[in-house]
């Protein structure tokens, strides 16, 4: 279903018009609240906020290149225990994908949420974002948007996050409504695509007019994805060779201090408590001595490489590539690169793509009577 709509521009400011559109959505009786990145009074930050009064949408800033948390986690908080009302959420494509994964894991519900997805222009790491807004005081989001759409570098000092640089899925496929930015004539209006029946209903209700599909969009996206894929493959190659022995992998992860920030930030890591913090890994004191006696030396804290490999086993098939793990790491371990490199292979192994569809069960939940015969046996 790809029905295109158009909302006429009210003025020159894109952000204002987008806010206007969001207001019209929130004004609908059926929508109780709207989750959208908003400028917060504290510390110049943009964080997701759940807004229930349309007039308070003036601080909403979905174009901001800030990405402090993956909002799928927020949706989980809002819907996991059952939400008896409808809300709308403005999400990045990777957030939508994470949301889909969490729905499969019964950590989120899809029914109460209308998803509005923006073409993703990318984001900075938390630290770089602070640098960027200082550089572009006042109109940081608009400047960023303009530069990204023109294919120019938004900043001279900081780069957008590595995850975004290699993101080949910048289009919110899983949204009910897509707000197109790439390959559309923004001066002619806001181009919206209804991807579900529900999205169409809302667009009809707010009075958006039907429109032709933007002509250049496909071409522009094709090129964009091609560039991103090339970038991605380069990262895969570099990362793969950086970890292609256990020794190199341990060097790669050498900075790990078992803070578990990566797993807290990860939208797919849904465990209430990580197994590595449970009694399973609460070793007996004597045990440490026995271990060190075996090899003569024991790195402390233990279980770091073990932890990361286990996390790859648990979560790489659900990795949506949002980059929050790297963003969260206090010691700048390039975890996103590692996860995406591995996830790309593990997802391909099961012909699975994290976040693609709610109907695809997680790979380890299912099996076929006959499959993977090549891994059975000791033949080479």
């Amino acid at each position: 279903m790809t029905d295109w709509y158009k909302i006429d521009r009210q003025g020159d400011d894109l952000l204002t018009d987008i806010r206007q559109f969001l207001k019209s959505v929130l004004e609908l009786d059926s929508i109780r609240a709207l989750l959208v990145p908003s400028r917060l009074p504290m510390k110049n930050n943009v964080m997701p906020a759940l807004i229930s009064r349309p007039e308070l949408l003036d601080e909403a800033d979905p174009l901001a290149p800030a990405f402090a948390v993956n909002s799928a986690k927020n949706l989980s908080r809002l819907t996991r225990k059952g939400l008896d009302a409808n809300i709308a959420a403005v999400l990045r494509p990777c957030e939508i994908r994470a949301h889909v994964e969490l729905v499969k894991l019964h950590q989120s519900a899809s029914e109460p949420v209308v998803i509005i997805g923006l073409d993703c222009l990318g984001a900075f790491s938390n630290r770089s974002y602070q640098a960027f807004i200082q550089e572009n005081e006042g109109a940081a989001s608009e400047a960023f948007c303009k530069a990204r759409l023109a294919g120019a570098e938004p900043s001279n000092t900081v780069e957008i996050s590595s995850a975004c640089q290699m993101c080949e899925q910048p289009i919110p496929e899983g949204a009910d409504i897509t707000l197109a930015l790439y390959g559309v004539k923004l001066d002619e209006g806001l181009f919206l695509q209804a991807r579900t029946e529900r999205g169409r209903e809302i667009l009809d209700k707010i009075g958006a007019k039907g429109a032709k599909a933007p002509e250049e969009r496909d071409q522009v996206l094709k090129q964009l994805i091609k560039d991103r894929t090339e970038r991605r493959d380069q990262v895969f190659e570099e990362t793969a060779s950086a970890v292609n022995t256990i020794k190199k992998l341990s060097e790669y992860l050498a900075g790990c201090v078992n803070c578990y920030n990566c797993r807290v930030a990860c939208p797919a890591c849904y465990c209430r408590e990580c197994v590595f913090t449970t009694d399973v890994f609460d070793h007996e004191p004597l045990q440490y001595l026995q271990w060190t006696e075996r090899k003569g030396v024991l790195k402390m804290p233990t279980d770091t490489v073990f932890y990361h490999i286990t996390r790859l086993v648990h979560m790489s098939t659900a990795c949506v590539g949002c980059g929050q793990c790297s963003n969260a790491c206090p010691n700048d371990i390039p975890l996103t690169e590692l996860f995406r490199t591995v996830a790309h292979r593990t997802q391909a192994a099961f012909d699975y793509q994290a976040g693609r569809s709610q109907d695809e069960p997680p790979p380890l939940l299912v099996f076929k009577e006959e499959e993977f015969s090549e891994i059975v046996g000791v033949g080479s």
């Binding site: 970890v243 292609n244 022995t245 073990f306 299912v366 099996f367 993977f372 059975v376 000791v378 080479s380």
Partner: protein
């Protein structure tokens, strides 16, 4: 004297089929190398990837997971679930330079004592060829 490398293989064997086969190999006096350490589990479907990762990071030269043939599983399909999990593990670990010879999955039925002995022989020979697991000497875990 250069001591020949004797690999250590940890085998997770299912209680119903492969353990029975291993027992048969023993009682039939089939000779197979003593390099294997059997860990009996009720089903290959309960072999947690953590066990395999730990064994390899702790220095096991190879890990074998062996259970009933498809269709034979005492628990209906634990072996099929194990196969998927092994597929995933192999994909991940191969990226970190763990050779395919170090992580094996086989189906060995209760009467296949000979096959069990042959599997161990074959694995030992293969692992001898590729040499010790580097984790044996370095601290990783």
């Amino acid at each position: 004297m250069e001591e020949e490398f004797e690999p250590t293989i940890i085998a997770f064997v299912c209680n119903w089929c492969t353990y029975t086969a291993a027992d048969l190999a023993g009682t039939s006096r089939l000779i197979y190398p003593p390099n294997v350490r059997l860990i009996r589990v009720m089903c290959t479907g309960m072999v947690d990837p953590k066990y395999i990762i730990k064994a390899l990071l702790d220095g096991a030269d190879a890990v074998l997971v062996s259970g009933c043939h498809p269709g034979d599983c005492h628990y209906i399909n634990g072996n099929l679930k194990a196969r998927r999990r092994m597929r995933l593990l192999k994909e991940i670990l191969s990226g970190f330079g763990i050779e395919p010879e170090r992580l094996r999955l086989t189906w060995i039925g209760a009467s296949d004592g000979i096959e069990f002995a042959n599997t161990i022989k074959e694995m030992v020979a293969q692992v001898k060829k590729i040499g010790p697991n580097s984790c044996k000497y370095q601290m990783v875990i």
